[in-house]
Symmetry: C2
Subunit: 473 residues, 2 copies
């Protein structure tokens, strides 16, 4: 009836069905890219509003740097170009002629931004540099996985510079905290904050923090990242500022990004067989009112519905007046779109001055007095928000394992998958072998991890920390 | 001392100096493109906030369509491809290989959007389609003219579709009204709303409305446009919906765009020999406080300054605490940035509980009681906003001429330039000859124009309307 694949029958198929049917996004004619439809874009606008407020409060200023980067710039940082070259799109022809220097469509903006930083900032007084931009970037993909893997995506990229490594690291942590808050308080998505291994970190950086999210198929999604770039780029661009003593100093830099990919995590974390489930904080529509009437009471019912809409002006509300659709069709449609609360208004509701709120997450029906409407609705929306986060946290915990032996590790990765905490010696050889044998990669070393006396699950050598492993999206 | 060219000595040089010195924008390493610095981007954010509010209120929803358009799509509408082909940037190589079909970096999004509209909307019930996007577009330029002419620029492009031409035209007008409001109420920039001639209209459309702005060198700037596309694109894409009777209908479409170019108009309209002048409504900083102290009274003066900042929390305010700069240096710096009001706080102000507001536009000093601060400041900011608009309107009117003969027309275009109202027969031959002989093009037929009994200024044949001519940016 819903015309979508049941979620736990085939998560990937369910996901693609639901994204298209709920009109969040669609495939574009160019392979690998996507169109974000208004209902999906409203989610991104919620995220932007939430994050931009904190970004500005921290004194970080928005700016805009060019889409096109001269190819030679990308080559200035050796690891950086190796990491991004295979994925770039290249403009070779413009304004009616072949270009002398090819232009790369930005896959990320470190190189073009830091060239400008070098031109603009010359003294310790100019530090810290606190700049962010909201833009589009391109990293070539042959197959589209809506929101999760697309050639072009939207994001913000923050690029700060500091006089000391300590201050720089504080910004790296601040950004990851902002991301955690966005995922947890706005999107109801639980995750683990940790440090990437050297082979999984950002190309050209020293260290990367990540927010790793458990998905319903037991795979992990890298939710966003915040990078400590050290002095690598300052050195590559030969950018120095004069310190207080008048000596040249290579500034310490960081970059941090949060993209439309996060919307994929949101969808996967909360949806069910009836479609999306939207946490109220981010929901483009928090409440939908479906009037139920016959010809003889239509005016009365609609008048009452409009009165309710007016009363609920501070909520994001939609009144569904389509008269070519049955009530049942409308219920399904709004459930598919994941609207947190539905209010049905018919003859009975008009007469009784009582209302029924239908929760999208639990399907529970809650009878309330019309006079309590605002406070009851507020309470229910808060409960839904909490419930979705707690549910995702619980699922994540149920899918989190401790492996004491490599056999145990392999067994888990073959069956339920999920996160596995296991000792690792931090040697890249073991990491690669585990990956090729189990498809599981190191996701992160949790920031909360404590030093222990352990043995690497693969080679048995000394290992100080339990890392988190999982198969990745 | 200011290190900028006097405005009326060389407007173009003054403009470039001021944009760079006030840190609005800078040249990017790629010819033709630019970097928008935080102070300049804050202007764009003000514009976005102002416009997006009205866009949403009108029921238009934001979405996001891809950056890359298959080359064949651009070719679907004949005039459209002819208009844009010479300016497109082309991706020929991506993901490590030559592309089978070249991809055009969007110069505007009609073609990619309407392909999706065709896939999504099939019934009269789906109309009107009301969609907008905020994005970046690329139209190749070899020389950068910061904000005014850059290969990449930021804008919004609205794309609506209606069942009737009448409704479609209403949206075209609504968009132009929104633009007028943005220019006049937010940016204090006067202009003439009118219809473009057939040779100056949008490539592929039926009619274009424009907002034409008079610049200090007597040239006109096309401030933004709103296009009636008729059924041209629906036919080119073979997009029909079923009307109420079940018959196929080609929807009527419109598109309307407002770009970062507008910031160029803002700068040119208001600045003077000391730098920018920002209308308070759009100013990123409305008030700057410059404390003036010696070692012995530093604490007292700064404490008082902070108290004032706190009191003025509802204004966009900056307290300049740089202790490596003299007061005079700070005055110049904030004048360059065009901050509407400066408040100087020294020993005297601390003791007297009185303050002096210094207006950026008139340089006037206004003594006020500290107890009246908020209301006085509000009043002064309103006065500045009005004054700037009235001043630009007056300058425009002083630069607006009526030409009765072609000799008169030529004389004006050789000397002061400006807008010229003159009868034109609407024949493209006359338009072209006037352009090649005087560099003046038809800017628009004002919406307010009345039908008259006139003779074309060039050929002497019957002409019904006085068109506005000017040399254009």
């Amino acid at each position: 009836m819903r015309d979508i694949t049941p979620k736990y029958k085939d998560v990937s198929k369910w996901y693609q069905d639901v994204v298209v049917k709920a009109e969040l996004a669609d495939y574009s004619p160019v392979k690998g890219s996507m169109v974000i439809r208004p209902y999906g874009f409203a989610l991104w606008e919620s995220i932007q509003k939430f994050m931009d407020n904190f970004i500005k409060k921290a004194g970080v200023k928005n700016a805009y740097f060019p889409l096109f980067i001269p190819e030679s710039y990308l080559h200035k940082e050796k690891e950086h170009v190796e990491g991004f070259s295979p994925q770039v799109a290249v403009v070779t022809f413009a304004g009616g002629e072949e270009l002398k220097e090819k232009l790369v469509v930005r896959p990320t903006s470190e190189t073009i931004m830091y060239e400008m930083y070098k031109q603009w900032f010359h003294s310790w007084r100019d530090l810290p540099v606190l700049i962010n931009q909201w833009n589009n970037v391109v990293r070539w993909e042959k197959r589209t996985y809506l929101f999760l893997r697309t050639s072009e995506f939207l994001w913000q990229e923050g690029h700060c510079a500091h006089a000391t490594h300590e201050d720089n690291w504080k910004t790296v942590l601040w950004a990851m905290n902002l991301y955690k808050k966005t995922y947890q308080n706005l999107m109801g998505v639980y995750g683990i904050v940790g440090k990437k291994s050297q082979s999984e970190k950002f190309a050209g950086g020293d260290n990367t923090l990540t927010y790793e999210i458990m998905m319903p198929d037991g795979k992990a999604l890298q939710g966003c990242t915040s990078h400590d770039l050290g002095q690598n780029f300052a050195k590559a661009f030969n950018w120095t500022v004069l310190d207080q003593g008048g000596a040249p100093l290579y500034p310490y830099q960081n970059s941090w990004g949060f993209s439309t990919r996060s919307i994929g995590a949101l969808i996967l974390a909360h949806g069910d067989d009836d479609g999306l489930i939207m946490p109220p904080e981010i929901a483009p529509v928090q409440v939908v009112i479906v009037p139920i009437y016959k010809t003889e009471n239509k005016d009365k019912v609609i008048e009452c519905s409009r009165k309710i809409v007016k009363k609920l002006g501070s909520f994001r509300i939609e009144l569904d007046l389509h008269d070519d659709e049955t009530a049942g069709f409308k219920y399904n449609k709004w459930e598919m779109k994941g609207v947190p609360v539905r209010i049905e208004i018919g003859e009975k509701e008009v007469n009784d001055q009582s209302l029924t709120l239908v929760r999208r997450d639990t399907k529970e029906k809650i009878k309330i007095k019309e006079s309590d409407l605002k406070s009851s609705l507020k309470k229910v929306l808060e409960e839904i928000q909490n419930n979705l986060f707690e549910k995702h946290k619980k699922t994540t915990e149920e899918n989190t394992h401790q492996a004491k032996t490599y056999d145990e590790f392999k067994k888990i990765m073959k069956s339920t998958k999920g996160f596995i905490y296991a000792f690792w010696c931090e040697n890249v050889d073991c990491e690669e072998k585990i990956k090729s044998e189990t498809k599981a990669t190191t996701r992160c070393l949790p920031l909360k991890a404590k030093k222990e006396n352990g043995k690497c699950i693969y080679c048995g050598r000394k290992a100080n920390y339990r890392w988190v492993f999982a198969q990745a999206y």
